[in-house]
């Protein structure tokens, strides 16, 4: 029955492609069986909407008159420092960047109400952004200071470029200590007072294609409300981890680097986010279409939350000290029930990733494909798989003499 991406695109063009979400395919495959479902369904859409810290955007503001060279100088956007180590008017703003005068954790837990993630959200929303630059001045770029409003609609480029997003599975966070801790996994109460998790589970892109058989470099995706592409594997991509029989990683494994035109995106799908006591980040919406090229590929997309296990990590003791120990494994179906049993205790659970928004993304992407607005792309190169030998290395620290 093998189909090709070109054949599926032909059907999309004719308006006859059968597109369903990664949630809907579960019931379809249960009712019809894998074989029949794989014949009938052409595309399964996935979605995820959660805080993704390694997100950022690069901008080209256009040249001022007289000219100024940001490179080697200092630039801020709404007081948040942007990276200015590039050519004259290119900038990069990272989601975790904070204004110089933010008190951070001086009074713990710091609030982190505004940072790079919020600047990116406001750019996408079309709001004016205050740019302040100081430079050293050269013969060809004489200006030393620039203060101006900029707006995404007026600048040359605004490109979202996230170097690690859409993690394939992730730690489930708990706290065994005697005090509340404030982490990137949210507020964790003392003595296993709560457990936080962050994944779209059965809807999550890489959990529906666990061996990266269809998602590769060049795959066109839903990104922040617009379209984008998989640019590379994400940093810390770590395919060779323990997996279930169906291939689902039981630890954080693969990740994607993604890129897309911020001018097409919307603040509904890129939300500036504040983690109390930790910092700022960006909540990103990503949806990846999975072409059903074979029964095997369809089989992977039928994964359910009870088949996905997450490792519970102690963020008070083990995580900060880079210890690989875990407190236990729980399924996402258990986590979504609101309570899990851990160390003989019933612990309430909460999610940091929005499942309803993930469903919405999968449905938007489904609609785009079904209505012929979005065609699938053939990856130009695969993501490194289990056999690649890539491992996630700790820093080899060598003290300076």
């Amino acid at each position: 029955m093998a189909k090709t991406i070109a054949e599926i695109n032909e059907k999309i063009k004719k308006g006859t492609a059968v597109v369903v979400t990664a949630e809907e395919i579960i019931g379809i495959a249960r009712d019809k069986g894998i074989k029949k479902a794989a014949q009938e369904v052409d595309v399964v859409t996935t979605g995820t909407f959660g805080p993704m810290c390694s997100s950022g955007a690069y901008l080209n503001t256009g040249h001022a008159k007289p000219r100024i060279k940001f490179g080697g100088g200092r630039v801020s956007l709404n007081d948040v420092p942007a990276y200015a180590g590039l050519a004259a008017v290119d900038l990069f703003i990272g989601a975790n960047a904070l204004p110089d005068d933010d008190p951070r954790n001086k009074v713990h837990p710091g609030e982190f109400n505004y940072g790079g993630g919020h600047v990116i959200e406001e750019l996408a929303a079309g709001k004016d952004i205050r740019l302040v630059a100081t430079a050293y001045g050269t013969d060809c770029y004489p200006r030393k200071r620039l203060e101006t409003w900029i707006n995404i609609k007026d600048i040359n480029e605004a490109i979202l470029f996230n170097i690690r997003n859409a993690y394939q599975n992730y730690n489930v966070a708990a706290n065994t200590s005697d005090t509340t801790i404030y982490t990137y996994m949210g507020v964790l109460r003392a003595k296993l007072g709560n457990i936080n998790y962050a994944t779209a589970g059965q809807l999550s892109p890489l959990l529906n294609d666990p061996y990266y058989k269809t998602i590769g470099i060049g795959t066109k995706i839903f990104l922040g409300g617009g379209t984008g592409f998989v640019a590379w594997h994400g940093t810390q991509h770590n395919p060779d981890v323990p997996r279930t029989e169906k291939g689902v990683p039981t630890r954080g494994a693969g990740a994607l680097a993604v890129i897309g035109d911020l001018k097409q995106m919307s603040p509904r799908w890129l939300v500036g986010t504040s983690m109390l006591g930790y910092g700022t980040t960006l909540t990103v919406g990503i949806g990846v279409p999975i072409p059903i090229l074979s029964e095997e590929i369809l089989g992977y997309t039928t994964v359910t939350d009870d088949e996905i296990l997450g490792a519970v990590v102690d963020y008070a003791k083990d995580y900060p000290n880079l210890k690989a120990d875990i407190l236990g494994e729980v399924s996402y179906a258990q986590l979504r029930s609101g309570k899990v049993k851990l160390k003989g205790k019933e612990v309430p659970t909460a999610s940091l990733s929005s499942y309803p928004r993930a469903v919405e993304i999968a449905n938007v992407l489904k609609e785009w494909i079904a209505s012929g607005k979005f065609f699938l792309t053939e990856p130009v190169a695969p993501l490194p798989g289990v056999e690649s030998g890539i491992t996630f290395k700790p820093l080899k620290e060598r003290p300076l003499e």
């Binding site: 507020v187 909460a350 940091l352 309803p356």
Partner: protein, 136 residues
Amino acid sequence: MAVSRRIVLHFPKRIVERAIVCRLAKDYDLEFNILKAFVTPEEEGLLVLELSGEQKEYDKGIRYLTETGVRIESLSQNFIRNEERCTHCGACVTICPSGAFEVDPTTRRVNFLNEKCVACGLCIKACPPRAMEVHF
């Protein structure tokens, strides 16, 4: 008929020093549970109460407060969720000590049950997109 409501009382500066709330118990046989009390920098007194009793007496008590110059709002007008910003992630669910956030098991959307809110404010800073707002 018995009623129980969560209300916010604003005491203007001129009556901040008068004994007012105790009359609710003495004259109208109402029970009150103080959830929060403070004086703002403008020296306005602010009291968040759960007030309960017989409907008739409750109404009289409220009239008494209003006639004395106390401005009354329901707590649900003061603690609100910015629906534009809420992403329904659910981070608030285990933060709230009174169970005012509930995940709908079918849609996975988070419902804010403001009748359960005790105005502690813990959700304000713990909400990642900062969707919870307090307007006293």
